[in-house]
Symmetry: C2
């Protein structure tokens, strides 16, 4: 099954996503202060599937060659597409840690499985924090009884806080949809990530849970499609972490007729809702991007195909000159056009149109000049959320990327982080 | 003839490059204050080949789809590989200016050719400055007599100053080599560019001249090879301008036996010297990069091939996280390793070695730990020039890229530039 992300991305507005507290039948969550690297804050989180047989599980992970030990472990364990629990720590990434790192990731899972009374290989592990340091097993063992005791249906906010690193706020999102003529199911998730992606605080972790009954294959299909229309559409600095992980679990506690195909209306409704929750979490990450002061939506339309639209969108979204212009509230259309022009996608300047919100600032190969246009553009660049549309005039391919600005604080945060 | 850049890059150390004043037999240079956009400074430069028949000429230009009008004009006029003069202005880029922009570029050349008494299509035009503004023809016409009068054999420093935009210093480089058993020839150039590439001050202009007699085909060969081992190896912010131009002229005034093949020792000596001059100009650009405080050489070795080495080198050289770490003097090896890991080139972590100067900080998939290593690395990161070597352990492919750091001043310069 090849994901059809465009399908999942469409009509997402019909799903209402909430950022408040939630519960997901069939799951418990909790967190404790282990003191492994931070002190005086939650830093160890646990998510637990109550069904003794575990739940359907799917994961999407970093493509970085230097993937972290827990990522390798999750990849192996998710081959059977079932899991009982996720254990996550913040502060130490367990990346670039060699054989010893892998041994310690396995050990973390074993400690949790002993306490939870489930098979060792049914526990997934995620880590985020400094690269090159080994995780400390002592605090994990010492805190495990307390962590298991902390598990409760509404423990998600604590878990979301426990996985934060340079994040300034916890990220939560949930949605409810109706399946089977009136049966309501929940799809909810927590995430962390502030530099997308700051390898040093290595980085993007997302855990989503649903009580819907979904076959592992279908869950996998919608997880990949959802990632493609959410986390694969955002950038803060173009860097990709060694630890990026998105894990989705489905308990089936809602009791709906299990969804076992990808084409039916129930299945598509589920896919859209999951995509909506993941997209909301993704936007929360960009808004909390390191030093970010503005959220920018870069919509590329009229491309020859989706891939070339994506390439143009990300070249613009990652351009330091474009991003500093947004920070400076400078409606500098020339930088956007020039970034698109160097994207590697062949463009015909005369066909390109550039819009800030609905304001056309460039067409027919030349700027739309005038005092009024300048003033309107200037006003738009004072907004906290800005929509930029670049129409290439070549075909039907489209892609939307989200980015933030490049501020003085981004440099300050990242120049001084380790020291 | 396909350029063999590696060949040109080798043994460049045997050529001594000077950054002081120079003359090139057969050429005159000059500059005036036209006041087209700046006031109280030189902003219009002219380079003139004295031979009534003109000189051999070659050019390498931006690949940006939105290339400027003067770039289009140069591409057309250089098809015959001969030229009489180059007219360049700073302040207005004549990019994204539609049909009118092209008409004005042609008009600039015509005004110069009338004053110089040469065919209109033998004059090349270069512009740098703000995108989307039309060049002003009035000041060009008004100043042309004075500009022609300013031409002299040692007018290069004035010309180098006249093409500056956000540059803080003019860039000049020259070398002398011996051909034909003792006959000395000069190869020299001037350049501008401070954000490589800041589209708004669109941007990289390089004019190199030599008195060597070289056939247009061979000149073209060495120009392309030289660009590949110099300007194509540097980055300040990964952005590519609409106006990037490298033009090389050869007068033949030295009277050497004309170089008409690329394989002979005289030809290779010429190619090496040209590459050395271009590389020196390229490094001057990086050192004067917007807000730059340090020059970083990223050498990737042991890659499967040169292209994959290049990809890894530029991913590291353009990573905002790597560049802010250099600004913060933070020997943050994790960010370099993580950037290499996301470059798209498949790496085997256990084979990768990372060195700061001669200090190994990462090998066998894990960091080389210890107080002493940390202290030494910390000292190295206080240098004004830092050499980083990443050995991939996969093959013989190698590539070296030069970059600078990402400083608070970079953000300040680019956030406030247009306003």
């Amino acid at each position: 099954m090849t994901p059809v992300p465009a399908e999942a991305a469409k009509n997402t507005k019909s799903v209402t996503v909430s950022r408040g507290a939630f519960k997901v039948p069939g799951f418990l969550a909790g967190a404790v202060e282990s003191g492994m690297r931070y002190s005086g804050r939650l830093d160890l989180a646990l998510i637990f599937a109550q069904d003794p047989a575990g739940c359907a599980a799917s994961g999407v992970f970093t493509r970085n060659s230097f993937c972290a030990a827990p990522v390798e472990l999750c990849r192996e364990r998710l081959e059977k597409r079932r899991a009982k629990a996720i254990l996550a720590n913040a502060g130490i990434a367990n990346a670039c840690t060699g054989r010893e790192g892998k041994i310690r990731a396995v050990e973390m899972a074993r400690i949790a499985s002993d306490a939870l009374g489930c098979p060792a290989d049914s526990v997934l592990v995620s880590s985020t924090g400094v690269i090159g340091m080994q995780v400390d097993i002592g605090p994990v063992a010492r805190c495990m009884p307390g962590l298991v005791q902390s598990l409760r249906p509404d423990g998600w906010q604590d878990a979301a806080r426990a996985i934060m690193t340079t994040d300034t706020v916890e990220k939560m999102a949930s949605a409810r949809i109706e399946l089977d003529a009136g049966l309501s199911v929940t799809i909810a998730g927590i995430a962390k990530g502030a530099g997308m992606i700051a390898p040093d605080m290595a980085t993007l972790l997302v855990f989503a849970c649903t009580d819907a009954a979904v076959s592992p294959e279908v869950l996998d299909y919608w997880t990949r499609a959802g990632a493609d229309s959410s986390f694969n559409c955002i950038t803060v600095d173009g860097d990709t972490s060694t630890n990026d992980s998105l894990i989705v679990l489905a308990s089936g506690a809602a009791g709906n007729t299990p969804i076992t195909d990808t084409g039916g209306s129930e299945s598509r409704a589920f896919g859209r809702a999951l995509a909506s929750v993941l997209r909301d979490l993704a936007l929360q990450l960009v808004m909390d991007g390191e030093g970010a002061t503005v959220l920018v939506e870069i919509e590329v339309s009229g491309a020859a195909d989706r891939e070339s639209a994506r390439q143009v969108a990300f070249t613009v979204a990652n351009s330091p000159l474009v991003k500093t212009a947004f920070f400076g509230q400078d409606a500098n259309w020339g930088r956007i056009v020039a970034a698109a022009g160097r994207s590697g996608v062949k463009l015909i300047p005369e066909r390109v149109g550039l819009f800030f919100e609905d304001l056309c600032v460039f067409e027919n190969g030349a700027p739309v000049l005038g005092e009024e246009v300048e003033q309107k553009a200037s006003q738009i660049f004072k907004q906290k959320e800005i929509h930029v549309r670049l129409d290439l005039g070549l075909g039907d391919g489209a892609f939307t990327a989200w980015t933030c600005d490049f501020s003085l604080d981004y440099v300050k945060i990242n120049a001084s982080y380790r020291s």
